[in-house]
């Protein structure tokens, strides 16, 4: 191996520690670093950047089926935005999305946390039960939706037959404009419990045992221990669960389509179903893009919260 590979003026004055040609080496290194980053950046640009920009541009265009033939989508300024924000249905869908998301998160998180704490103790068959808990997660969303639609049927559904034993078997789960959103939320809670349980359970397993021992030596009650030790220590995991839960809930589409199709009378219409309806039923892609952008914006705001929370944890 040659040890005199670096000739030229750059070698002059080089020490044992630095490279013979610092500028060139740095350039090479930068190039190499970019080489490694490039695929990721390209991927992001292609699959996230491009669609996002397109979606934003599309929301200012009159984008109809003809566009697919001619490639022409004339810009129409704020028309699409005005249409969407002037539509009662948008306000309704926004409100229902908020209620649905908050309701789902509270339900999923509370039950998920309860179950995680429960499974955190060791007991016979605990592992088996924990595995069974994952089932709702494994069932495809559309299948869950269709099965639940049958379960919740007012006359022939299993749930009402069961409730009938107690004399309260006539709940119009999916057929009343007042109850349908609640029913959809409850089904979504059922779907979201395993995710919350698994992540929170993982978090609980990581908590240091000594703190609990100290607490029990101090004679802290179970509730006090949970409130003053478990919850604060679990905070980073809680943030992750809630933010991820939020982002997957706010864009809900498949479950609603399978359960109620947004009905009855638009009472379960969410931003997700609205953008679907605008784009793929009405074939007015510009309007659909507006609703889509609102959804992206909402998610982005929460993503920022999430990143900030993470950064604070790091400090």
């Amino acid at each position: 191996m040659s040890t005199t590979t670096v000739p030229g003026p750059a070698a002059i004055g080089s020490t044992a520690e630095t490279a013979p040609d610092p500028a060139r080496t740095r350039r090479r290194r930068t190039l190499a670093q970019w080489g490694f980053v490039a695929p990721a950046v390209l991927f992001m640009l292609l699959f996230f950047g491009y669609p996002l920009v397109r979606n934003i541009v599309m929301s200012f265009q009159h984008y109809t089926p003809s566009t697919f033939f001619t490639g022409k989508a004339p810009f129409n300024g704020l028309d699409n935005w005005r249409n969407v924000f002037g539509d009662d249905l948008f306000g309704k869908a926004l409100w229902q999305t908020i209620v649905f998301t908050i309701g789902s998160l509270i339900g999923q998180f509370c039950i998920g946390l309860g179950l995680a704490v429960f499974f955190n103790r060791r007991f016979p068959l605990g592992g088996v039960l924990r595995a069974l808990m994952l089932l709702p997660w494994l069932v495809p969303m559309v299948v869950s939706g269709i099965v639940w639609r049958r379960i919740l049927d007012q006359d022939t559904g299993v749930l009402n037959s069961f409730l009938g034993l107690f004399g309260i078997g006539h709940t119009p789960w999916l057929t009343s404009t007042h109850v349908a959103l609640l029913a959809v939320t409850l089904v979504n809670i059922w779907i979201g419990i395993p995710f919350n349980t698994v992540i929170l359970y993982g978090g609980l397993q990581e908590l240091p045992r000594e703190v609990y021992e100290a607490a029990s030596l101090d004679g802290a009650s179970a509730w006090r221990t949970f409130r003053s030790i478990t919850l604060p220590l679990l905070r980073p995991v809680v943030t992750v669960v809630l933010v991820l839960g939020f982002m997957s809930t706010v864009k809900i589409l498949d479950l609603v389509l399978a359960l109620t199709d947004g009905g009855p009378a638009d009472s379960t219409q969410t931003l997700g179903t609205l953008t679907y309806q605008d784009s793929f039923v009405q074939l007015d892609f510009g309007t659909g893009a507006v609703v889509g952008n609102v959804l992206v914006l909402i998610s982005a705001v929460f993503a920022v919260f999430y990143l900030r929370a993470n950064r604070n944890e790091g400090k």
Partner: protein, 420 residues
Amino acid sequence: MTAHPPNGPWPRRRRARRPVLVALTAASAVVAGAALAGCGQSRDPGVYTVLNSSTDDSYHSWDAATLERCSKRLGVTVRQQSVPADQVMTRSLRMASSKSLPDIIQFDGSEMPAFAETGGLLDLRKLGVDTTDVPQGIVDYGSYKGTYYGAARTVNTLALFYNKDVLEKAGVKVPTTWDEMRETARRLTQGHRYGIALSAGGAEDGVYQFTPFMWSNGGDETHLDSPQVVQALDYWKSLLSDGSLSKSTINWTQADVNDQFMAGNAAMMINGPWQVETLDTKKSLHWGIAQIPVPRAGEDSVGPLGGGELTIPDIGDTAREKTSAQIVNCLTSEQEEVTYALNSWMIPANRKAAAIWRKKVPSLSSLADQVAVARSRTAEVGSGWTSVSLALQSAFQSALTGQSSASALKHAQARVESGK
């Protein structure tokens, strides 16, 4: 210790890294290329593609057999590509933008105008598709703004299905007017069994089912808030308030309605002939079929026309398009229509084929009468039908869950007008 050894390996590693870099860049480029391409495939001469929604096993095999026969007759290969019914439109649009349209697309009649409006469909008559034996109503069904774009092989409509045993036991006749139907439904409602089932679901199914009530009463989709439409919706409400119709009706598709009827949870139902295949799987069920009752005795029962239409998209290759027209001619020939109609329990579009079919299935002849006067949903509003449909769904669901029919329909009409 020399000054250089630590740096020694560098040049070599650098040299070794360059290919890695190249490989990475190349890989990225391939990914990018694959994403951007995937379009503009060239068409294989002699191989023709039909895009349809025959994802159902039996439909897929019937179509395969039909296409096989037509392939032989024309000396070409015709393949089918089946996607779920609600994806035919979006798939076709995507194919249009990537210049890879199939040779023939089978659209649902209510969707065809939206695609025709783009100018992407060809006039079938100019390509040599003959309509002499097709009744005017069905020609209109396949037309948009006076041009014939869609050739139906078979059409369907809605009818009143009834459980013969239940009606016989109760000693009631098959109803022919709204009042009779309301009365019969009330009498047949017992225990877990409702008098009638229909779909008022929040999708095209529900709207399809509402149209015969709206139209037979003289109502029209251009004036959703007219008294005739309000009356029709009030009639639905009366069935619900009598308890003859399940409240779940607003969450049912037409397939759900059929399930309810088959399970004995409904004595009568509004549904289409495409359910017959399923109905006949239950041997113990004796069902009959009749025209949908009319508001007043002696009036015409006006039902909706439904069913797929074969269209030829503009692919910019006249020779190919002419062959596609021959394929359409073959698929809509008397013999093929009868075969397809007998399989799928629908009614042949061609007049002569319908006559043959009537003799073979006399039990469904009332359907053939209904088809003769049935109406196309898009004849008046064209590609505006989807707005009407969405507004109407919301309106009847609001009305069936408590709002007054008049205010719900007024809102619907306003919604349609503001959308334009």
